[in-house]
Symmetry: C2
Subunit: 401 residues, 2 copies
């Protein structure tokens, strides 16, 4: 088998942990598998480098930021190759140039275009473990690019796709994908498997186990993902196209506390107004989520929506700058809200899932502020202070009744 | 003019110093010059990286050590480009891949083979300051190589040669090349100019201002070197092919405390014995310097020579392992010695220089243990404890009488 294994910054934070990861990879190598390891920068290296850049130039050119950040993963892979060599295993580190991981030109947020596999394949064929820098690429000018947050997961999936690997294992600090956050819901269970689509919804909704870009890429190229712990040997969760649903309506309950609610009040009640508002926000790169439009009475109506907290200030600014043109009477921002979602491929064929969720919330007296749904997800906006009790109630409703 | 400027690790040790170097480069850029900046890793970064490697694998593969070390210069150049950008000057950092600095394959001690100038020239032509990683290259496998100690100087000279630069300025913590170490000889003077050959002798002899590899390369490609201080605007010393000797017999007095003396006693007094001894040492990569052979009496003779202190142990080992074949009765090692040299293109045409040096040493009662000469240098081996008084005496003899 050809296995791509990805370890994040925490897993390679110091010499001891690098050593443990080396052991883990060598174990599979000794079983006769071909191993490609993708690493992030050690511990908080990336943040430390950004701080250094910030001290020199708060508006540093993004090209140079990427050039700087790329040193983080290069350090990890070189040290990992040394650790494996110390254990008598032939290993070689490769950076984005050496592999030739071609990306788009956009510094800090590049996308993979094409990955050459020749060098990696040659190294694997000559019996080496190949250790590749995550998070980085090169553009057509041979300049270093980085992929943005979650980039190392994306590198691993992209490599697995290019190499037609048998599996792509993402090692994290949790044992897999859970039906809810175990810190909040004591009865949360680890899922044996989950579909790409469900994982995508969970990732988007803040489950934080996998970045949704990497899940999307895995879905596109049918890469079998395995989410598992770097701390122990537990089996983890397999992410793939179709799962045995085992009669489960819902795969998980996800919480996103990073939401802000923006209320746009007294908008003229005529066609095209809502479009113009969301178009203006989109032009400024603001992602709008759950939307609620009041039924217009008289001549005006109200529109509410959520955005990520980091974008809330900008969203308000954009709306106020265009207040007159967009016929807005007032803009309000509210931060003490959270999104609670249930996700499940099973709900496509089952009515009554939403009702069951609302019932659970009603039972514990949690007020629903807004609702949004997709084919496999139902999201409600609730008060931030209700979030833990609501999560437990919804989870218990679907998993313990 | 096209000027290559090289700054060492001390000059870019922190954000403040990076800022000062940026100012210095921008000053010349604003005068209309094209500027290429070569940087070492910041401060003690290289040593810190080596320590980390050591902790993980005391016998780390050299390929991986180079991969690790190369991050040091990449960090420097990215931060420098940011510093210049903060001052409104377009600048771009390039690593060895991006320039295409081709070297031999030997990790840790690679030699330049070919440097592509296209990317640099394009960047210069579009009005940018180009900042290049010193010390590193790529080999034919696209693997990262490093050049060994003094490598950044070599990078600067090699780039200056490839780009046909008008000057290659090496910024150091001294103001230029002195007639002697100013810390030892208060009356030491800064030289306005010096020939490549003299500089080569001084570099080899431990003057430490420039690495002799870079001087050799400069001589080969007729690159005008300027050694100057990164701390002030003093003029520095120009190193070139021919200088106005201004009647100076001697350009400088150099001291090398890194010498060990090895005495090989009781060697058979017959032809070829000395050759076999030095041949064996050469095979083990041991560089032998000042050699003294006693006039053979009876059937045996004694041979003494100096080596760098790091090689002394290995030299003794090699000799003892071959003791019988090389007809050696006894091997002795002595570390409390130093080499004192005078260097000067002028001595080629002037008799009596050696006599003047010996007289100076005699005057202060310093015993000469061994002597070696080349066309433009005279070296004596003396006791380590005599070295300061001897240096002052010799310097004063040539520069203050």
């Amino acid at each position: 088998m050809l296995i791509v294994k990805k370890f994040g910054g925490t897993s390679v934070a110091d010499a001891e942990r690098i050593d443990a990861v080396a052991d883990r990879c060598i174990e599979d190598y000794r079983k006769g598998h071909q191993i490609v390891v993708v690493l992030s920068a050690m511990g908080k290296t990336t943040d430390a480098l950004l701080t250094r850049a910030q001290a020199i130039n708060p508006n540093a050119p993004k090209r140079e930021v990427d050039m700087l950040l790329a040193t983080g993963e290069q350090t990890s892979v070189a040290l990992m190759a040394m650790a494996m060599a110390a254990k008598g295993v032939p290993a070689i580190s490769l950076n984005a140039f050496q592999v030739a991981m071609h990306t788009t030109s956009r510094y800090g947020d590049a996308r993979f275009k094409r990955i050459d596999t020749e060098r990696i394949t040659n190294e694997l064929d000559s019996g080496r473990i190949v250790i590749v820098t995550g998070f980085q690429g090169i553009n057509r000018r041979d300049d270093v690019t980085t992929l943005g947050r979650g980039g190392s997961d994306t590198t691993a999936v992209a490599l697995a796709a290019a190499l037609r690997a048998d599996a792509c294992e993402i090692y994290t600090d949790v044992e897999g994908v859970y039906t809810a956050d175990p810190r909040v819901v004591p009865g949360a269970r680890k899922l044996k498997e989950i579909t790409y689509d469900e994982m995508l919804e969970l990732a988007t909704l803040g489950a934080k186990v996998l970045h949704n870009r990497s899940v999307g890429l895995a879905k596109k190229y049918r890469v079998t993902l395995v989410v598992r712990s770097s701390m122990n040997r537990a089996e983890g969760t397999v992410v793939k196209e179709v799962c045995d649903v085992e009669g489960m309506l819902v795969s998980g309950v996800a919480v996103d506390k990073n939401a802000a609610r923006i209320a746009v009040l007294g908008v003229k009640n005529e066609p095209g107004v809502a479009f113009r508002i969301f178009d203006e926000l989109a032009k400024h790169g603001i992602n709008v989520d759950v939307i609620l439009q009041s039924i217009g009475r008289d001549e005006t109506k109200d529109i509410s929506f959520t955005v990520d907290q980091e974008q809330a200030k900008e969203a308000v600014k954009v709306l106020k700058e265009n207040q007159q043109r967009l016929t807005i009477a007032e803009v309000k921002e509210e931060k003490n809200v959270a999104k609670l979602s249930i996700v499940g491929a099973g709900m496509q064929t089952n009515a009554g899932v939403a009702a069951k969720m609302f019932e659970a919330l009603f039972d514990v007296g949690v007020n629903i502020r807004m609702i949004a749904t997709s084919e496999i997800r139902i999201t409600v906006l609730i008060d931030l202070e209700d979030v833990d009790i609501a999560t437990r109630a919804v989870h218990d409703k679907f998993f313990h009744e």
